[in-house]
Symmetry: C2
């Protein structure tokens, strides 16, 4: 029993995402977002008291989505298949790492809702790492991954590489294949 909304939650989140990536946390404002959604600034305050609440709320949704996709890694049999699955997943959502970086900048002393959201985010982030850790463990057990390299570095390495800027416009397929090759066997020949 109410009027129709001028924007959906999905539209709000995807606009927020674009603005966050473009302007960074401190450059993100309600004015920019309202303009993007063709709505008055005041309307946004019906849903969120301040930008910290809005951003954390959006990020929880984004990370939940990523985690849901990540769960499907269980359907892949064997390490090689799981490795391919993970690489493709990360290539499909290359912004996740950047967003996690932005999340760190959000101050928690704004109000209780923000503090709760931040804790929720931390929990999701930890969950993500636990899942990936078990993937790494499998890799080391199956003797595909070098055992002497720390788990945290292996994960960091994989996540970081998808953020390499493709300045020279190398075709996506070649780009992905080369990155997989370097991660797997390095950029040195065997002479």
């Amino acid at each position: 029993m109410a009027r129709e909304r001028k924007f959906s939650m999905d539209e709000l989140f995807s606009s927020a995402k674009a603005l966050l990536l473009k302007h960074g946390y401190e450059g993100f404002t309600f004015s920019l977002l309202a303009d993007q959604l063709n709505v008055s600034r005041g309307a946004l305050y019906k849903y969120y008291e301040n930008k910290e609440e809005l951003i954390t709320d959006y990020m929880i949704a984004e990370l939940n989505q990523f985690l849901a996709d990540l769960q499907k890694i269980e359907h892949c049999q064997g390490f090689e298949a799981q490795f391919d699955f993970l690489m493709n997943l990360i290539f499909d959502m290359p912004e996740v790492q950047q967003l996690i970086k932005i999340a760190v900048q959000i101050p928690v002393n704004v109000n209780n809702k923000v503090r709760e959201n931040k804790e929720h985010l931390d929990k999701l982030h930890l969950d993500m790492y636990k899942h990936l850790q078990s993937f790494i463990k499998l890799g080391k057990k199956e003797k595909n991954l070098k055992a002497h390299i720390a788990d945290g570095l292996i994960l960091g390495f994989i996540f970081q590489t998808i953020a390499i800027p493709n300045h020279f416009g190398i075709p996506h397929a070649e780009w992905v294949a080369s990155i997989k090759e370097i991660i797997s066997h390095g950029m040195f020949t065997n002479n």
Copy 2:
């Protein structure tokens, strides 16, 4: 014939650097910088008309320093030595990549000085890539680097890896050694 300055150019640059890395381009303000230097905001306007001029000026200095250090790569004989030199250099200046990213956000329509500075920055950035490109060429000639992987990806890969966050506090020496190993020969065993 003048009064002594309350801050040196070096102090100004290193404060600017810290604030840029902490708050990002849009979060950087003259107020923050003035506070950091224990000086009034007005004093800064004696040197720069706006933050764009200041930031680009600082970045030119930073990139010049990096390029000067990079030139010394010529003193290293052979690809392996140059590779080690480059990795160590990049590990000593891990912020350079992040700063280049920030530089992209600076609008050029502020005034002519900013436009000139931005062009200068682009030139330096290009110089940097040219130097590194010749290093890559040497590597491919000596058959140490896989020839079928694009130069741009090899460089991007090396620069990107130094930005991997060391969340779990792995000791620096182990961290660096592992990264060199993965870049060189990958994270897979040879079974």
